[in-house]
């Protein structure tokens, strides 16, 4: 069966198409709510995918990511509050256009650019993932161990200023992964006589707690966000002439989005801001930027939707999630027994191409659903915050209970929420914790299997060429990120000294 046939089969024999529609719709609504990032919108859905077949479940989550990246621009344009981090750059010119009475036009540019970016991202995903995954058959237990280490090395670039805290969060995640039955000997570890812990702590519970519940805790102490005007619920799609003008900024957005998405740790926010800057540099009307420039919306919106596709390249090819959203997707894959990484194409081609097909439907349907859902999204943004928090809290608890019919799980989610709140408070990044938790089993099981095969000789990790290559890549990644952090810290110190001196 060819890839196209697999995709067609998945779309026609499973509810993947409905999952794509539903995911995009939920993503737009979730992304439109300030504070509900794409990863939180996905985490809220995760419990509901538990009993679904793998293809619709993952299509639902991935489509949520696609929808949320566009949804984030709605409040960014209408109330100057980005619904997602990646939409922050859109606020600059989007809100300015809205103030000039061109809010509908700004929303139209955002939607069209998002669709274009999403389709380009998907094309890159389809073209790059298979060649990267073709090294599948070369992987041995030592290589899998080194792959896990490479995944963990992403922590270095995710730790935004504090490598030590990132590494500590990663170690905590690995510690959580050791709870439960030992993968080699079968003895129980850190279960404290609780039978619920014998199977370990499910990623899903930690993700929902750390991302969604901690956000609810934070939001409870923040003032209500602004409200959008009632007359703003009409999108004005860009004219052909305007589309022609936007080509250059969309091209810049898609190139930067491709590069940043494929690089673990970069993400949509960086891509959006870089694209905004580059679009201004290359624009024929740079003076309009900041004053309501359509290009200032097109570039970041194309970039963050491109990232929604290209961020899946390292996740599907190597099992390395480079952002919070792809970490949730990775969790979803593992829940459904789909080990991401090199063997995914060999073992589950139907799944991979089904996902690609679902993403195509999601990106195409974004255009229509984006127009249809705008009014409900504005309605939702305008609901009083206390009711929204109450509904989300009830949704979290009901969804989590549905997984295993266990109140113990809700307790774990609340505990993870407290951990997430403390991490936010103390400046610890989340993603290393999730990475450690998700990659813990892969690392420990393959490390010990490798040593069982060699009688305890660690040389096997550098004798295996794939393993050696991955370990070198991990080392380069850590050294590169640490050097960048070090330089950044020195630059800041110099600036502080200069400021203090005069």
């Amino acid at each position: 069966m060819s890839g196209l046939e697999h995709a067609w089969h998945a779309l026609t024999t499973t509810p993947a198409v409905f999952a794509a529609f539903g995911g995009v719709m939920w993503g737009i609504l979730g992304g439109a709510l300030p504070g509900i990032s794409p990863s939180i919108a996905m985490a809220l859905l995760l419990p509901f995918t538990y009993d679904m077949a793998p293809i619709p479940a993952i299509v639902l989550l991935a489509s949520t990511y696609v929808g949320a990246e566009y949804g984030g621009s709605i409040p960014a344009i209408l109330i100057r509050t980005p619904g997602t981090n990646a939409a922050a750059a859109t606020t600059i010119d989007g809100y300015e256009m809205h103030r000039q009475g061109r809010g509908g036009e700004a929303l139209g540019i955002s939607l069209v650019s998002g669709v274009i970016g999403g389709l380009i991202g998907l094309a890159v995903l389809v073209l790059l993932t298979k060649p990267l995954a073709s090294v599948a058959l070369l992987f041995t237990p030592p290589a899998y161990f080194s792959l896990g280490i490479l995944g963990l090395s992403v922590i270095a670039s995710l730790s935004s200023g504090s490598l030590i805290k990132g590494l500590m969060a990663g170690a905590l995640g690995l510690m959580l992964a050791t709870i439960g039955t030992d993968p080699v000997s079968g003895v129980s570890r850190f279960t404290f006589d609780q039978p619920e812990l014998l199977d370990g702590i499910r990623f899903i519970l930690v993700m929902v707690g750390v991302f969604a519940v901690s956000e609810l805790f934070v939001q409870s102490g923040l003032p209500a966000w602004e409200k959008a005007g009632r007359g703003e619920s009409r999108i004005k799609l860009p004219s052909f002439a305007l589309l022609k003008r936007l080509r250059r900024s969309q091209l810049i957005g898609s190139v930067i989005g491709t590069f940043e998405g494929c690089m673990p740790g970069a993400g949509g926010s960086i891509a959006a801001f870089l694209s905004y800057n580059e679009a201004r540099r290359w624009s024929r009307r740079p003076e309009e930027f900041g004053q309501g420039s359509p290009e200032g919306i097109a570039a970041p919106e194309t970039a963050n939707n491109t990232v929604a596709g290209t961020a899946l390249v390292p996740m599907l090819s190597f099992g390395i999630p480079g952002s919070n959203s792809t970490a949730i997707l990775l969790g979803g894959l593992l829940i459904h027994g789909m080990d991401p990484g090199p063997m995914l194409f060999t073992r589950h081609p139907d799944f991979v191409y089904g996902l690609f097909g679902g993403l195509l439907v999601a990106n195409l349907s974004l255009f229509v659903i984006g127009i249809l859902v705008l009014t409900p999204a504005i309605w939702l943004v305008n609901r009083p915050k206390p009711y929204l928090l109450a509904a989300i809290y009830a949704l979290v608890f009901s969804g989590v209970y549905s997984i295993d019919h266990s109140l113990f799980d809700i307790g774990i989610v609340l505990a993870a929420g407290c951990v997430g709140y403390l991490m936010r408070l103390l400046g610890f990044p989340f993603l290393p914790l999730v990475l450690g938790l998700v990659l813990g089993y892969l690392i420990e099981a393959n490390y010990r299997r490798s040593l069982l095969l060699t009688g305890g000789d660690h040389v096997v990790f550098v004798q295996d060429p794939v393993s050696l290559g991955l370990l070198i890549a991990a080392l380069l990644f850590v050294v590169g990120s640490a050097t960048r952090d070090f330089r950044e810290a020195r630059r800041r110190a110099r600036e502080r000294e200069a400021g203090a001196g005069g």
Binding site: M168, V184, F190, S402, G417, G455
Partner: protein
């Protein structure tokens, strides 16, 4: 969350470092208590946990040393702004209240049953976050609880807790 004063942040990091060292020690001790098994291989079931405990402890020591150096370099913290401090305390208390609502739900749901507990959670959370005390809140809570019940129990078939009501029903009506 708002950006902190560097000295304040360093002091917080110092406390965190001490806490994490304690956690790493407790984790190491718990790892040491893992029973050995002939199937464990050369590394053993306690191998990774003990290594992690050392790594975490080492990182915490590094964080603590860095924080201590920052405190020494920058001197005593600026006099804390009472308004900022009160605002931070208010936010933490609000978060604690949200946690309390969640814990309360877990405690009452086996007795009240899902429908009533989710109604109480919804109304309680909305009230706690500043919703006005009106009949609309109660009506909205009831409609919300009914929708959640229909979605989870009826449509998705999840056996959510029924509470004491089936027993009461049986006792009253046989």
């Amino acid at each position: 969350m708002a950006e902190r004063d560097p000295v304040d942040q360093a002091r917080a990091d110092l406390l965190v470092a001490v806490g994490i060292v304690a956690l790493a020690t407790a984790y190491w001790l718990a790892a040491d208590a893992i029973p050995s098994s002939p199937l464990s291989g050369t590394v053993g079931a306690d191998g990774l946990p003990k290594t992690l405990a050392w790594v975490l402890g080492g990182l915490a020591a590094l964080l603590g040393a860095r924080a201590a150096a920052t405190c020494r370099r920058l001197g005593p913290p600026a006099r804390p702004d009472p308004v900022v401090r009160a605002e931070a305390r208010r936010r933490h208390l609000r978060a604690l209240g949200m946690l309390g609502l969640g814990v309360g739900y877990v405690l009452v749901v086996p007795y009240l049953g899902y429908a009533l507990a989710v109604f109480a959670l919804g109304v309680g959370t909305a009230l706690y976050n500043g919703a006005p005390r009106t009949w609309r809140l109660v009506a909205g809570g009831a409609v919300g609880a009914a929708l959640f019940y229909l979605l989870f129990v009826q449509a998705l078939g999840i056996p959510l807790p029924a509470g004491v009501w089936p027993g009461v029903w049986k006792g009253v009506f046989g």
